[in-house]
């Protein structure tokens, strides 16, 4: 009997231990991050090998740039530390490295929306004023690489919204110009959907699933209605008539069927598929889908029958949000002088041009957008430049993760009808006020 009891105890003990091990492997957060602060204003010193920390690049364009650098700098070799494709995981690994103050990450490839968080936490180093030709870049990209008027990163590539439209259907319905306002888009749709060949086609879609795409689409709608999510002082301004107009445009769109019901599950790829299968008249998406849409191997049913324009707004052309990436120097890196030199090389005009041969990522120098040789392969670039000219960065807040989560929660609730637009915006205002108050 005693034997039996002891076994039981072992059993229970083991179960506890197993449960503990199982639960805790997922979450062993770092301890306190200590009080040591990198000297922000110190000059960038030290030369030698560095690491370029980035998501994978299937096009091979970034690797070509690194190879070119390594050929010229035998003593300052750059090695590529490849992070997962998923942006959340990239951020998490970089944050973890910063919290242990690891020196193994020197140069970081950051999504534009992480700039504020990394800068405010002193995880990245400010760049000297004269390090980059900032006056020659697309202004919105410089803005997105700065935090409180200090440049923290070098714009690497940029991205903006485009409105894809079915030119064949529009022409058949007698619509000659792409819509500049939401009302014009609705009118164009009404005309198109009356056509017999438009059976089973819906009017408009963007990215409305609960992820970053929803934040992008909502902030674009608000900016396109003349509002903004935050004012110049960083105070949230989402309980305004402009934000309400924007949200009602989306909510009413779902209610009236202008936006198809299943668009609530659309991320970038699902929307591309729907448009590519000919189920949409208009689609808001990024430039990267242009290539799939124009494929002539039979995979795209809209090849040759679509056009791009700037996204529409309430009273005129809409305001795109800004995507893209910046290259920054980790505060805990060694050989910062090499890192700075490498960044300047990596984002130089020459290298941006070299990469255009391999990758469709939009360069940050405006002249490429109108260069005939470049636009021959990427015909959407002139439109994208217009879109970038009045583009707005997404909210530049330090707690970006919490901010985008709050936006997604409330806007998704409004789109699915769980909350009225008024209530959703009022709740969002409260949440954002809390988040930014700290």
């Amino acid at each position: 009997m005693m034997q039996r009891r002891r076994d039981r105890r072992i059993v229970v003990g083991l179960a506890f231990a197993a449960a503990a091990a199982i639960t805790l492997t997922a979450c062993s957060g770092s301890g306190s991050s200590g009080g040591s602060t990198p000297a922000a204003e110190a000059t960038l010193e030290g030369t030698g090998p560095i690491q370029y920390v980035s998501s994978p690049d299937a096009s091979g364009a970034a690797q070509a740039t690194i190879d070119a650098w390594n050929a010229e700098h035998p003593d300052e070799q750059v090695t590529w530390v490849e992070l997962p494709l998923d942006a959340d995981q990239q951020r998490q690994q970089m944050v973890q490295n910063a919290q242990v103050e690891g020196s193994s990450y020197s140069v970081l490839n950051l999504d534009v929306v992480w700039t504020s968080e990394f800068a405010a936490n002193r995880w990245i180093t400010p760049l000297p004023e004269d390090a980059l030709p900032v006056d020659e870049l697309v202004p919105a990209t410089v803005e997105a690489a700065s935090y409180r008027d200090t440049l923290y990163g070098a714009p690497y590539y940029t991205d903006g919204a485009l409105l894809y439209s079915r030119t064949d259907l529009l022409t058949a319905a007698g619509v000659t110009a792409p819509p500049e306002t939401w009302a014009e888009m609705q009118a164009a749709c009404d005309a198109v959907l009356a056509l017999p060949q438009a059976a089973g086609v819906s009017c408009y879609a963007g990215q409305f699933d609960k992820n970053e795409g929803l934040t992008v689409n909502f902030s674009e709608a608000v900016a396109s209605a003349g509002g903004s999510l935050f004012d110049a002082e960083g105070k949230p301004t989402v309980d305004t008539p402009e934000a309400l107009t924007a949200l009602e445009f989306l909510v009413d769109g779902f209610e009236s069927g202008m936006i198809p019901r299943d668009a609530i599950t659309f991320q970038e790829e699902q929307g591309r598929q729907a448009f590519q299968e000919g189920k949409l008249v208009f689609l808001r998406n990024w430039p990267y889908i242009y290539k799939s849409l124009s494929a002539t191997d039979g995979s795209s049913s809209v090849s040759g029958n679509f056009g791009v324009s700037a996204i529409p707004g309430e009273d005129g052309p809409g305001v795109s949000t800004l995507g893209g990436r910046n290259i920054a120097i980790s505060s805990y890196a060694e050989n910062k002088a090499t890192a700075l030199e490498f960044i300047a090389f990596f984002t130089s005009r020459e290298q941006e041009q070299e990469r255009l041969a391999l990758s469709s990522r939009a360069p940050v120098f405006p002249e490429f957008f109108e260069d005939q040789t470049v636009t021959a392969s990427y015909p959407y670039l002139p439109t994208l430049l217009t879109s970038l000219d009045n583009a707005q960065p997404r909210p530049k807040v330090v707690a970006y993760g919490a901010t985008t989560a709050a936006i997604q929660d409330e806007i998704y609730a409004a789109l699915t009808g769980d909350k009225t637009p008024d209530a959703a915006l009022a709740d969002l205002q409260t949440k954002l006020t809390e988040i930014t108050a700290g």
Binding site: A15, T23, R148, R261, Q270, Q273
Partner: protein
């Protein structure tokens, strides 16, 4: 001497289990400073908040999210494990028969278990997307990957598909230990197939089955990747405790994240404890002969009963 010989094991256990556990408990008592200084830099450091993180979780403004996640976790666990057990046992019975192509079936049945969860999450996401094959086959327009009950059903289907083979395999291993004579005796006594299953197979396979179910319970309680990949983060209808912990740590709230992990740990341990107490699962295989003797006795009794 025994202590000396066992010490490497204990050292490893302390390093990989005790230390992270204590560290997480300690971490859960702190809260990160928030706020910016005049130059826009984050105020660094953490402050000791005692049990404040736990109080916030259970009764704070966001506690609804926690109770929702707790309910989802429990709901998913019990529904999926129940379905998996039934289907897994059926698999095992099928695989235990001698028939042509048995080796192939056994290998085939293991494929779902062998596919990484995140990958099968993606596969099911394609199946369940609005123009996916699920809607095509059912001739419906259900938005599986949006919020709601359909999303929960999607997660349950994918989870059961993935893990029923696990139970099937463990049960099959248990079944193959049942001596053939017992069945022969039952047959002689005129017991039909159902009677044999209920009176011989089930009781004799019980120890293996209970261990399999216990493992699945522990596993399902920390479900994370399937709802995360298949439906997406922050969807309240499929948010589990693990996803909550991830979400907090993703936003650098390591204190709250640790508190969630500790709560999940206690919850998992509680369920494991109750399960072991109530059903007497024999997790470590009770090396003593008593159990074996009891099993043999039980087998004899079962055979007799089956014959009746």
């Amino acid at each position: 001497m025994a202590t000396l010989l066992l010490s490497p094991t204990f050292i490893v256990l302390v390093l990989v289990i005790v230390y992270p556990l204590l560290s997480a408990v300690y971490q859960s008592l702190f809260s990160a400073e928030s706020g910016l200084d005049a130059d826009g830099f984050v105020v660094e450091g953490e402050s000791f908040v005692g049990l404040g993180n736990y109080a916030d979780i259970f009764a704070g403004a966001e506690s609804g999210r926690f109770y929702n996640a707790l309910w989802n976790t429990t709901f998913f666990t019990f529904v999926t494990v129940a379905l998996e057990t039934v289907i897994g046992v059926a698999f095992a019975v099928a695989m235990n028969r001698a028939f042509k192509g048995r080796a192939f079936l056994r290998a085939a049945i293991l494929i779902p278990w062998a596919i990484p969860t995140a990958v099968s999450g993606l596969l099911w996401r394609w199946i369940f997307q609005s123009n996916g094959i699920a809607n095509d086959l059912l001739n419906t327009q259900v938005l599986w990957t949006a919020e709601g009950f359909a999303a929960q059903v999607a997660v349950i289907i994918a989870e059961v598909w993935k893990t029923a083979p696990f139970i099937g395999l463990l049960v099959l291993a248990g079944m193959q230990l049942i001596p053939e004579e017992v069945y022969e005796a039952a047959k002689l006594d005129g017991a039909n197939a159902w009677k044999q299953f209920v009176s011989i197979t089930l009781p004799l396979v019980r120890p293996a089955l209970l261990v399999a179910v216990l493992f699945r319970l522990l596993d399902a309680l920390r479900m994370f990747d399937l709802p995360f990949v298949l439906i997406g983060p922050r969807k309240s209808s499929v948010e589990t405790l693990s996803i909550l912990a991830w979400d907090e740590s993703n936003q650098l709230q390591y204190g709250t994240a640790s508190a969630f992990a500790i709560i999940l740990l206690v919850y998992v341990a509680l369920i494991a404890f109750v399960f072991i107490r109530v059903l007497g699962a024999d997790v470590v295989g009770d090396a003593d002969k008593q159990a074996e003797k009891a099993a043999r006795k039980q087998a004899a009794r079962a055979a007799k009963e089956a014959g009746r």
